[in-house]
Structures are given as structure tokens and as C-alpha cells.
């Protein structure tokens, strides 16, 4: 990782110096030892650019705004981030001609409590999109894991247990909106969760409905487009397992409509904007055994 990191930083400096790109989107040291913050770099501050095992933050969403700037931006993109970026390109949210994608090898990212949940369930080390890749053998190992195991475990509980589980989990929410703000699939300019009349940006809700059903609505809004990048669960200060909602949708779509990975193919139509005449009726839910 050390070797890859050095090469990445050297290459970023080189591209910036040559004028091929105007700025670099990467990470700098954050407030805590285990934290790296997304940042933009130019000639003046490029020495602050870091790439190490704490660069968990997915930079792809930043490109929605950054790619509107004059000139080209170099974006450092990890394999899982490349899926999010590709999905954004598919939705025409990022200007492809304004970015240079440098795929950076990743051995799994860490946070305060060690390996990130999303990396425990890494979806692979391929780059869905890149102009250039810097990695090595050590960055290509994919851990063996079953990301739907926890979903299945929940499904096997009784409805009362499930209701109690979600009630206790979701009651912890402080509606900081971090999960929505970080989500690369949540790029609506006008979001249902904001109340433009409240005078408090990105916080207050229009009414209690959006407030009470926040988590389900959010998960449904990104269903089909969610790449399972795990950022929502990573940033939640309350430790709510939001990925269990996303993965439930993914698991259902996989079983009902065939395996699908959002972001893998920028030309694909995701399961919710697609159909076949032979699709299952909604009664399959009713008819499946307990």
C-alpha cells in the first residue's frame, strides 16, 4: 500500500505540474488520526494530499459540483468508488469531459474501529471506470464474505422481532442527515427531506411524515441506483445499520429480477426502471413461507 500511495501522490503532482489537470480531488489529514477529509488541491497546497488506509471517504459525489468547474479535475477513485462514479455518469450528473479518473489500488480502508464494514464486504477490486490505474498485487485480494447474511438473519425472525429491532435502531436517529449528504446516489437538487421555508438549511422537514419514515424513504429513493458503497452506515454517528435496508432491496431485486450491480454498466437500465411481462406478482411476498 505504501508503494502504491507514493506512486499515486507522485502521479497527481506530475499531472498538476504539467497542466494536464487544473486541480486534484483527494484527501487531506482530518481532525482525528483515523480520519481523512475530502479536499481540493492546487499547486499551492498539493503537499497536503494524502493517500493511506484511512481514506475511506468516497469522493465520487463531490464530482457533481467539482466537474462543473473550469478545466479538468483529477479524481482519485478507489474500486468501490468507481461504481458510484459510473452510476453518476449514467445519470448524467457528472461531466465526464471535465474529469481525469485515476484509479487507486485499495487494500481495505480503516476507521476508528478498524476495518470498515464496507471493506469487510468488498465487492471486488476492478475499476468500473478509469483513465489510468495505479495498484499492485497486494491491492487485488478480495475478502470472502456474504453481504446478505445479516439480511437473511433478520428475515428469519418473527415480524414482531423485526418491528422491535427496527424501532429500536431507527429511534436512535438524530436526523443529522449525514447519511443522505454522503450518499453518492442522493444528488437531487431539491430533496424531499428539506424544508425550504424553515430557514434551516438541509435540516427541518416539511412534515412529520418525511421525518418518521425517513429511513425507508431514503432507502427506496436510492433503490436500484445504490451501489452498496456502505457510506451511509459508515458516517452514521448513531451506528444505525442503514446498509441492512439497502441490501434488503438489492437482495430482493437480485432474486426477483436477476443479479444486478448498480454502476457496473453505465448503459444498463436498473431494475426499477425496467420490467418484463413475466415479472412476479406482488403476492409473492405474501406467499413465501415464514
Amino acid at each position: 500500500m505504501q508503494a502504491v500511495a507514493e506512486k499515486v501522490i507522485a502521479r497527481a503532482k506530475e499531472l498538476l505540474a504539467s497542466g494536464e489537470v487544473q486541480r486534484v480531488l483527494g484527501w487531506e489529514k482530518g481532525e482525528f488520526d483515523y480520519e481523512r477529509t475530502p479536499a481540493l488541491f492546487e499547486q499551492g497546497n498539493i503537499d497536503k494530499l494524502v493517500y493511506d488506509k484511512f481514506c475511506a471517504a468516497n469522493l465520487s459525489k463531490k464530482l457533481v459540483e467539482v466537474s462543473k468547474l473550469e478545466g479538468k479535475t483529477l479524481a482519485l477513485i478507489k474500486p468501490c468508488d468507481s461504481l458510484s462514479l459510473n452510476q453518476l455518469l449514467c445519470e448524467h450528473r457528472v461531466k465526464r469531459e471535465n474529469i481525469y479518473v485515476l484509479g487507486v489500488g485499495c487494500k481495505g480502508m480503516e476507521g476508528k474501529d478498524g476495518l470498515c464494514m464496507k471493506c469487510e464486504f468488498c465487492k471486488g477490486k476492478n475499476f468500473a471506470i478509469s483513465d489510468e490505474v495505479i495498484d499492485d498485487e497486494s491491492c487485488r485480494e478480495v475478502p470472502q464474505s456474504d453481504r446478505f447474511a445479516a439480511v437473511r438473519e433478520l428475515e428469519e425472525k418473527t415480524p414482531e422481532e423485526r418491528y422491535a429491532f427496527w424501532r429500536s435502531e431507527l429511534s436512535k436517529c438524530i436526523r443529522c442527515n449525514a447519511c443522505r449528504n454522503v450518499c453518492p446516489a442522493c444528488t437531487c437538487i431539491k430533496c424531499v427531506f428539506d424544508n425550504p421555508d424553515s430557514g434551516v438549511a438541509a435540516k427541518a422537514n416539511v412534515d412529520t411524515f418525511e421525518e418518521n419514515q425517513f429511513h425507508i424513504i431514503r432507502a427506496f429513493h436510492v433503490a436500484g441506483r445504490c451501489t452498496d458503497c456502505g457510506e451511509c452506515s459508515r458516517v452514521c454517528p448513531q451506528g444505525i445499520p442503514l446498509h441492512l435496508l439497502n441490501r434488503k432491496f438489492i437482495k430482493d431485486m437480485d432474486t426477483l429480477y436477476g443479479d444486478y450491480q448498480a454502476g457496473e454498466d453505465a448503459e444498463a437500465r436498473h431494475p426499477l426502471i425496467n420490467f418484463t411481462k413475466a415479472d412476479a406478482e406482488p403476492s409473492v411476498v405474501l406467499n413465501r413461507g415464514e
Partner: protein, 146 residues
């Protein structure tokens, strides 16, 4: 003396598409077929107009059951609306089940304009199921009131 046991009067919301199912309901009415008064019909242009949030909203406002009716697959007035609705509702129902809301409380039925009798029997059947299930869990509590 007044009885302390309150009779359970379920609230059932039925979303019906304008072109088939609402006309089917009309036919049921003009043919003098009866269906329970607990069913409140909301007319929508197409089954596909029903945003999954409408169903969550109905539950949050205290519905005990929600049913969506549209044209039979292949017969949608807008060609394919009900095919999209079908996928969406399947996923929503599965999610509601996952959250612990009884999956018998939601249903999708295809009812054509000519099926007045079917409309009545679908509603009678659904209302009977909801009667049996009793009052719904309060979805509005899912987050706020632990």
C-alpha cells in the same frame, strides 16, 4: 349502558386506476353489488401513479390495510404503467414485511372495467382479512416513540 368494548372499524385505503379499476368499482355500484363501507377509494390516473410513499403515508395516517387496483397486465391505458407499479409494489411489500408490518395488510389486484363483481369480491375478501388481523401496528411510531 354503554359497552366498553369498541367495535373495530378498520380503515382500508384502495387506490384505483381511473381507466379500469375505478370503472370496475363504478360498475359494482351500478350493479348494486355491495362491498364494505370501510374501503375508501382514491382515484389515480394509473396504478403507476402510486408512489410507494403514498402507501407508507396511508399507514402512517392510521390505515389498517392498503390495496392497489389497476388494469390487468398488458391492458394499462398507458401501455406499461402497471408493469412498473408491479415491481415497485413487490419491493415495497417485501420491505414492509422486513420492517415487521404484517404482509397481509397490503395487496395488489388487477380489476378491469368489466369486472364489477370481481371488484366487490376482492374488496370483501380484503376487508375480511383486515378485520381478522385487527388494528395495525402504528407505523408512525417506527422511529419516534420508542
Amino acid at each position: 349502558m354503554q359497552s366498553t368494548v369498541k367495535e373495530f372499524k378498520p380503515l382500508i385505503v384502495a387506490f384505483c386506476c381511473n381507466w379500469c379499476s375505478y370503472a370496475g368499482a363504478d360498475l359494482a355500484g351500478s350493479s348494486r353489488l355491495s362491498y364494505p363501507a370501510d374501503v375508501k377509494i382514491i382515484r389515480v390516473p394509473c396504478s403507476c401513479r402510486v408512489n410507494p410513499l403514498f402507501i407508507l403515508r396511508a399507514f402512517q395516517r392510521g390505515a389498517d390495510g392498503v390495496i392497489l387496483c389497476g388494469c390487468h397486465p398488458g391492458d394499462c391505458h398507458y401501455t406499461s404503467g402497471n408493469y412498473y407499479a408491479r415491481r415497485r409494489m413487490t419491493l415495497l411489500f417485501s420491505m414492509l414485511d422486513y420492517l415487521g408490518v404484517d404482509r397481509r395488510r397490503v395487496r395488489v389486484e388487477w380489476v378491469s372495467a368489466a369486472e364489477g363483481a370481481r371488484f366487490a369480491s376482492v374488496m370483501n375478501d380484503f376487508a375480511a382479512t383486515i378485520h381478522e388481523l385487527g388494528e395495525n401496528v402504528k407505523l408512525e411510531d417506527l422511529r419516534c416513540k420508542q
